[in-house]
Amino acid sequence: MILVSMAAGFLLILMGLYGALTNRNILRMIVAFTIASTGVNLVLVSVGYLAGRTAPILDAAVPVADAAERIIDPVPQALVLTAIVIGLGITALMLAYAFKLYETKRTLDISKFTELKG
């Protein structure tokens, strides 16, 4: 199960990277990056997952005392949350850029934005 999700995560990452590096359309690139970061998140979660344990939420069901034995590692979960937030921020920024880029040249082809080079 862990392996499956991890494999799925890596697959998504590769798909995302492939998509981002081969699609010339800026929006498609952004989507591809979103896919890749989903994959990253999946990998993150699956690394922290321990079979047979519960979510790291300390409540009545999981008392503090035996938390260490019953919950999965909370750190990756926390990381994922942060990563999602940050990913969202960056995606938003990229979309804003995409909009502005489109405004300047009326195209979304990344290879058209090469005024700076060398």
Binding site: F33, F113, L116
Partner: protein, 1047 residues
């Protein structure tokens, strides 16, 4: 105050700004500035506390628990310094960004705060994931700040940046999570401890890959070659104030992040760091060569400098407790200079490198520019200089010659394009544009300058080798910066007084050898400076440069250890560069001068480093004890370095232009005095190391050949020059060849002859340069064939040249003959016969160009436009007359100067000395009586002259066209003056020897470098996707290589 406040204030203020009414921009701006100032103050406070030792490094635990359960920050010395750098850069950038921020409102300010905060966070945090978070914050804020630019292209640059950042963050996250998986912690120190303890999971299998991903992602933030196209676009198009942050703050933060990460990876990863760093350093510098936009060039330079620091990080295992000093020195110098340059570029509206020419109307800004360039190149007294010195010594001591070599090569290329740029600023035609002289912008630049000098002082203090900035001569020279508003005549008087005073103060400490050099440099320098009384106005920039050179020279001859010697060497090089650059058409020549000189200086640095083998300070006397393994290499490196200064053949191509195009009073300084620095170096080298074998080849024998060839080819090239000053310049190559030859003879008289050349060459070359300079001033040309017949109009100049050429050609009875006499006696006791053939040939050839000089200028036909010329100005003639008097006096009484030196040299070479009895000087082989020669010649001359006057006293004085002209009459002086291509038959016979092979060789090398740069530039297509590909490819290649070399 807790360091966490730096982050908290940054974040908090950014949030606060969000609530502020968008109309209250001034308030928002003030709040931003205050917040940044407070952040800076906290960092400064910590830095002060930590460096004064009143407190030690502290760990801050954010959630009250220890890692791994909570994020912790650390504030140590390095962190404090870097945080201060980051926050101050942020603050100054905010000041600089006043207009765009006021225009765009509070959001831009918030983004700037976030950026500053996140860079500080990257430095402070000890948690890898936290590192990721700060990096992402940095990315987002960078993405925002890029848009501050007026440049429309910034938009696409920002997007490219985001694309690559996405890839980086994917790698980073995966790396982090697997590292966590393997090491069970996100805390860097825990992970490092685990990996150091050999905890199997950390650096094996997936752990290794995980670390690699983390590492490579962080390395990517350093913009390594070639995965850095995106960053360069940012550098080029972003607002310069932001580029300053991007280069200084972001660069420093990323470096520190990598440094931290390497704690986890351990020493095994250091070679990878070295390799990436070095290749980036060299390649980025090569690429920078062919840039035409100032900001992109600075971008490449930033990439290169960060690569250099990364390479230094790669030497961490070696550097020990000097690590921070070296890496910090280079990094801070880079950060200050680069930020300063970006800010400076922010005051200029145009982007071409040549458009910086506008700066020449603003001496203060020009000084700032010069300071920044010197800082980047690592010249004294800036931190990079000390750092490079220590780094070279550490590398050489450990035998990492390749690293050392590549670093020096890269630094030389960097110096090349930076000084070329500086040359543009000073010499090119300024486009019609206005420098933005807003107080806050200039203020920011000046703060950077002050910071640079302050750091220089600090690093000098920390180096433990002696602070260059406390040397009296240097301070005297720098004080002219402050005095530059005075009239030139006043400054000249001060300068002369300073030179003489310093001589009076210091001469009791000189041995006879140093005394001769001391007299030439200080008293001789003062005499030449008399000619500078001729100039009017304020002559901005001349005195600081000239006195910098003199300071370097004065420090050179008193230097006791290698560091002092090298520092003095660099100072005199820098001073003379500025001096040479002042000439009207000297831009390319000054550039080749500085490049060759720095190349030579680096050779000297390497030589000293190899010789010292880690010993610091290394006394110059210690060269005598260098072990036989290293001795030949040390000898070669030092000799090569000194030869760039004496312009030995092969390394001479900078000299003619540099000397010929310099100003009238500068030419004698750089020719008569500056060249002696190289000879002094040779004296030191040969005095200590003596004869040295290299694979069975006697190195002094090689020097003998080089000296002989320099003498021959220098002279030969001189005779084909049409430009009088160029002729003299080539002749200097020949003369220095003679002196080198004498030294390399390695016997008593050879050295005495070299010393005699030192004296004579100073006198007659200064005299001739002044004379020719005075004439060029009057005639408005340096081309000899456009002069002619000036003898009656400029009799004093003529006498100076006449005496000069008699002395120089070695014709008795003037002092040049003494040199020749000693020379013949010297070679009598030498075994090297073949190079003498060449020396024998070059002697008469000197006669050729000297005659040409005097003939085509003073004799022959006077030109129409020169009919009313006056004698050269008094102040230019005065030193010449002093020299004439000296030459005649020295010819009669050479003993006054030479006797003591002769005795002194006897302590090195006991045999073959001279006997000074009465009027006659006797050697083992022959004898020479200067007074008798003078008297006999004078008596014969006077008698014959009287006889001729008796016969011919009624001779009719005729004019220039009263010549027999095959029964015709001349039409114009121009067509009657035989001057152009004077030695045409000689060119037919021996002209093939003057084919500019050497020039072509060096031209080929620079051509290849530029060609490589142009070719490599094509990889930077400008397409963001391609850049992402580059990055991925880079990752793969580094992975394969690093895994391949590691177990």
């Amino acid at each position: 105050m807790s360091p966490i406040l730096i982050i908290a204030i940054g974040l908090g203020t950014a949030f606060l700004l969000a609530f502020l009414d968008n109309r209250l921009r001034a308030t928002a701006y003030a709040i931003t500035l205050v917040a940044l100032a407070v952040m800076s103050w906290i960092a400064a406070d910590w830095l002060f506390a930590l460096s004064s030792g009143s407190t030690g490094p502290v760990e801050i635990f954010t959630a009250g628990t220890k890692p791994p359960f909570a994020i912790n920050l650390r504030m140590g010395l390095a962190e404090a310094a870097l945080t201060l750098l980051i926050t101050v850069t942020g603050l100054l950038a905010a000041v600089f960004l006043k207009e765009p921020m006021m225009r765009l409102g509070r959001r831009s300010m918030a983004v700037l705060l976030i950026a500053t905060m996140s860079f500080a966070g990257i430095v402070l945090t000890r948690d890898v994931f936290n590192l990721f978070v700060f990096f992402e914050l940095a990315v987002i804020s960078t993405g925002g700040l890029v848009l501050l630019s007026d440049d429309a292209r910034a938009l696409s640059a920002g997007f490219k940046y985001l694309i690559v950042s996405q890839v980086i963050s994917i790698l980073l996250l995966i790396g982090i999570i697997f590292l966590y998986h393997a090491g069970g912690s996100l805390n860097i120190d825990d992970l490092a401890a685990a990996s150091a303890a050999g905890n199997s999971t950390v650096l094996l299998k997936s752990g290794a890959l995980a670390f690699f991903l983390l590492f490579i992602a962080l390395v990517a933030e350093l913009k390594p070659f070639p995965a850095n196209g995106w960053a360069l676009d940012i550098y080029e198009s972003a607002h310069p104030a932001f580029s300053a942050i991007f280069s200084a703050a972001a660069g420093a933060a990323s470096l520190y992040a990598v440094d931290k990460a390497l704690l986890i990876g351990g020493p095994a990863w250091l070679p990878v760091a070295t390799a990436i760093g070095l290749s980036t350093f060299v390649a980025a510098n090569v690429l920078a060569l062919s840039q035409t936009s100032d900001r992109r060039l600075l971008g490449y330079s930033s990439v290169a400098q960060i690569g250099l620091v990364f390479a230094v990080i790669g030497q961490k295992d070696l550097l020990g407790d000097q690590y921070l000093f070296i890496a910090g020195g280079i990094l801070l110098a880079h950060a200050v200079a680069k930020a300063g340059l970006y800010w400076l570029s922010g005051t200029l509206p145009e982007r071409a490198l040549t458009s910086w020419a506008e700066l020449k109307h603003h001496p203060v800004l020009l000084f700032a520019f010069a300071s920044f360039v010197a800082m980047l190149v690592g010249l004294p007294p800036f931190p990079g200089f000390y750092a490079k010195w220590q780094l070279a010594h550490a590398l050489a001591a450990d035998g990492r010659y390749l690293v050392l070599g590549l670093i020096l090569l890269g630094a030389l290329i960097e110096a090349g394009y930076l000084f070329r740029w500086f040359g543009y600023a000073l010499k090119r035609e300024a486009p019609a544009q206005q420098v933005d002289l807003s107080l806050h912008k200039i203020g920011v630049v000046l703060i950077a300058v002050a910071a640079g000098w302050g750091l220089g002082y600090l690093w000098g203090d920390l180096s433990g080798l002696g602070n260059v900035l406390t040397a009296l001569p240097l301070l005297f020279a720098l004080s002219f910066l402050a005095l530059d508003w005075l009239p030139a005549k006043v400054k000249n008087a001060i300068a002369i007084a300073g030179l003489v005073a310093w001589f009076l103060v210091s001469y009791p400490g000189y041995d006879p050898l140093r005394l001769i050099f001391g007299v030439i440099i200080l008293i001789g320098g003062a005499v030449i400076l008399l000619a500078s009384f001729e100039t009017h106005g304020r002559r901005i920039g001349f005195y600081p440069s000239a006195m910098l050179m003199y300071a370097g020279l004065a420090m050179l001859i008193v230097a006791e250890d290698s560091f002092g010697f090298f520092a003095a060497w660099e100072i005199l090089t820098l001073g003379s560069y500025f001096l040479i650059l002042r000439g009207k058409k000297s831009e390319p020549h000054a550039l080749s001068y500085i490049v060759f000189s720095l190349g030579g200086a680096f050779a000297i640095l390497a030589g000293f480093a190899v010789a010292a083998q880690g010993t610091q300070p290394f006394a110059l006397q210690g060269l005598a004890d260098v072990s036989a393994t290293f001795a030949p290499y040390v000898f070669i490196l030092l000799a090569a370095g000194f030869m760039t200064k004496t312009a030995a053949i092969g390394l001479h191509i900078w000299l003619p232009g540099a000397h010929a195009e310099a100003e009238t009073d500068v030419s004698p300084m750089v020719s008569g005095i500056l060249l002696k620095a190289g000879l002094y170096g040779f004296f030191i080298l040969l005095m200590t190391m003596g004869k040295t074998q290299f694979y069975g080849v006697e190195l002094t024998y090689v020097l003998l050949w080089i000296g002989a060839l320099s003498a021959l080819l220098g002279n030969l090239m001189a005779i084909f020059q049409e430009d009088a000053k160029r002729l003299l310049a080539y002749s200097s190559i020949g003369q220095m060849g003679y002196a080198l030859f004498g030294l390399a003879l390695m016997n008593h008289l050879g050295w005495l002859m070299a010393l005699m050349f030192v004296i004579n060459h100073y006198v007659y070359k200064s005299m001739l340069f002044l004379s020719v300079g005075g004439i060029a001033k009057r005639t408005g040309t340096k081309l000899m064939y456009r002069m002619g017949g000036l003898i009656t109009l400029m009799p004093l100049s003529f006498i100076a040249v006449l005496v000069g050429i008699i002395a120089m050609s070695g014709v008795p009875p003037l002092s040049g003959f003494g040199g020749r006499w000693i020379f013949y006696n010297a070679i009598m006791s030498s075994d090297a016969r073949l190079p003498m053939v060449i020396i024998f040939l070059s002697g008469p050839i000197a006669f050729l160009y000297l005659f040409r000089l005097i003939h085509t200028i003073f004799l022959g036909q006077l030109k129409d436009e020169h009919r009313r010329l006056k004698e050269a100005p008094f102040w230019i003639v005065l030193p010449q007359m002093l020299f004439v008097a000296f030459l005649i006096g020295f010819a009669i009484f050479p003993g006054l100067a030479l006797r003591r030196v002769d005795a002194y040299l006897g302590s090195f070479f006991p045999s073959h000395g001279l006997a000074w009895e009465g009027l006659t000087i006797t050697s083992e082989y022959g004898y020479w009586s200067p007074v008798s020669i003078m008297i006999v010649v004078a008596v014969i001359f006077v008698v014959l002259l009287a006889w001729l006057v008796f016969l011919n006293h009624r001779a009719q004085k005729v004019k220039q066209f009263n010549i027999v002209f095959a029964a015709e009459r001349p039409y114009r002086p121009e067509t009657t003056h035989f001057a152009w291509n004077f030695f045409a038959p000689y060119r037919k016979a021996l002209g093939f020897l003057t084919e500019p092979l050497v020039t072509r060789f060096w031209g080929g090398i620079t051509g290849t470098l530029h060609g490589t740069a142009d070719l490599t530039r094509r990889f930077y297509t400008g397409d963001g996707q391609v850049y992402a590909f580059h990055f991925v490819g880079f990752v793969v290649i580094v992975y394969l290589l690093s895994m391949g070399v590691r177990p």
